[in-house]
Homo-oligomer: 316 residues x 2
DNA sequence: TCAGATCGTTGACACTGTCAACGGTATCGA
DNA sequence: TCGATACCGTTGACAGTGTCAACGATCTGA
């Protein structure tokens, strides 16, 4: 009885919020009026800027867009020189989509404007309320995503705080699971620090996996030489394993590397990291070299793996 | 320094939520595909169903719609017999808009479907999470509404729990401010109970004012005779006074009564309630009778006020 | 090998929303 | 009292947004 009443109250509250936010999104839309892009186009651009080279159908599914409509949007982008299509080696019907330098620039401007708009909103709030707002938003997202069985995770570009998280989680996990000492955390800190300080976004990238609003994994792809990319710091949270996050991260690197013009990807790991090894094998990497070393307070066997990008562009 | 990082993180979280909910509203939109109404039309219907007879321009402002676009939507509704226009007595350029019985019926169906959809979402959540969800939504609404200086309050139809709130707040306030005893709360409970149990929605209404997600006021308009309506239980929370909530509630009753075909509105109050008296005077009510009585544990002077609807339809 | 599904594309089309202009009305100060 | 100005609701013209069905090419699995 009382629970029926309560349920009705909740339904009313949720519907009220839907109405409220419907209107609010209309207002956000207005901020784009000055730009040459529609809200939908901006959403597409944003998705493309994540850099994981989706096919058109993946993009359409991710954003809930009609395939025909999306096709036309993409044609428009191509005509303006904002995107390039790379035919998929695995499926001749598909192409992988990526922003050109101009595309990145166009997106960067929108991105900055959007950030400024949100920052202005936050600035008009007492600082404590800003945190409350973000927390409430994360709660809603988590609960709804869980209820609707939406995609269990998303990849995105790193934002402030993510780099520190990468170092922190690497240090913690490897200490806990393998007993490695602080020198390992130091190594990760150096790699991440160098990337954060300076990198070429056209050829070097980091992806953060997020699940239920929580960071759940990371990977870096950096330049070793003009022809060789290096995959580093692949990490998936223990409680987020088995969802395909690792595979998706490795795959995303492969696509990006191929599109960025590298010939092959190399990576260094250790034989004790069994689950990572399986990921690399599944993605087509081959074991090139194997040598014992003493590091991080243990006797380990280091391994070098390589993926040739000529024939083996991973699909989907 | 750390505050800059933090601010960036918050901006990212808010933007992520915007993207998420943009998509989610797209999904909600799909639920309407089966109906003959577009999302915008549904929003208009919802606003009209609140029963406070807005003019077209008020409606457009409330929903952020273009006047031309809205004009066509309304014409369509009128052609389908869903709404009627009552010329405003105060401003010949305006008409007051109200749903016809058919309009109410069409809306009721949509409303039920929408409620069912939300209820299904909530049902797929653990009960505790449903409450969390509603709380988080209320928090967001409150914070954003405050930051953007949006309309400080809205009127809406009562939902489960509201009637109890009306009784509770009346009892509390009049006990605290005037020392009235429980018999007053009992009187309110009877009035509200009778309304909740049974009323004719075409000629009797209740409005709840909501501010920052909190209930902030109430009013009832019920039938005294075919020609006379009675205004009852006007209430505004002490900390929500001075915003025009009371005036808006009284005004809404006036409009509704005129449209429902009453000739005049009567109400009974007591001389100690000075601020209410000012509201009635401003709305055009005249003091008809005044007689002492002993009630609620005190010697009081009861007053009867009346508003003639023939000439004095309040505008806006 | 073949039926059925998927990918991206296209044409046709209805709907959504914007903009400028207009007649009628209200407001306010000279 | 008048006139300038602003507002209300309406209309025409139009560009943008999104939907639907159909198509050829390709992939998948029995």
């Amino acid at each position: 009885m009382s629970s029926t009443i309560e349920r009705e109250r909740l339904v009313a509250a949720v519907r009220e919020f839907n109405r409220f936010y419907t209107q609010r999104i209309g207002v956000l839309h207005e901020g784009l009026l000055a730009s040459p892009f529609s809200l939908t186009e901006v959403r597409v651009l944003y998705e493309l800027a994540q850099g994981d080279q989706p096919s058109a159908s993946e993009l359409g599914r991710a954003l809930g867009l009609d395939a025909g409509y999306l096709s036309r949007i993409l044609r428009g982008f191509e005509a303006k020189g904002l995107i390039v299509r790379t035919p998929s080696a695995a499926d001749a019907r598909q192409s992988h989509l990526a922003l050109t330098a101009e595309g990145e620039a166009a997106f960067a401007e929108l991105d900055a404007r959007s950030s400024a708009e949100v920052a202005a909103l936050l600035a008009s709030l007492p600082p404590a309320d800003g945190t409350k707002l973000a927390d409430a938003m994360a709660t809603i997202e988590r609960l709804i995503a869980r209820a609707t069985g939406a995609a269990p995770f998303v990849l995105r570009q790193p934002v402030a705080g993510d780099f520190g998280w990468v170092v922190h989680r690497h240090g913690l996990l490897y200490a806990r699971e393998y007993g490695w000492d602080a020198s390992f955390e130091g190594l990760v800190a150096e790699i991440v620090g160098a990337f954060a300080k300076d990198h070429d976004p056209a050829r070097e990238r980091c992806w953060i996996a997020e699940k239920d609003g929580q960071v759940a994994g990371s990977v870096f792809l950096v330049r070793a030489s003009d022809e060789v990319a290096k995959l580093r710091c692949l990490y998936v949270e223990p409680d987020a394993r088995g969802l395909g996050i690792g595979q998706r991260l490795v795959d995303t690197c492969t696509r990006f590397a191929a599109q960025a013009g590298y010939r092959r990807i190399t990576l260094w790991t250790n034989d004790v990291l069994v689950s990572a090894r399986r990921l690399y094998e599944a993605a087509g990497y081959r074991l090139i070299a194997s040598e014992p070393h003493h590091s991080f307070g243990h006797d380990l066997v280091g391994q070098t793996w390589e993926l040739d990008l000529a024939g083996a562009v991973a699909s989907h």
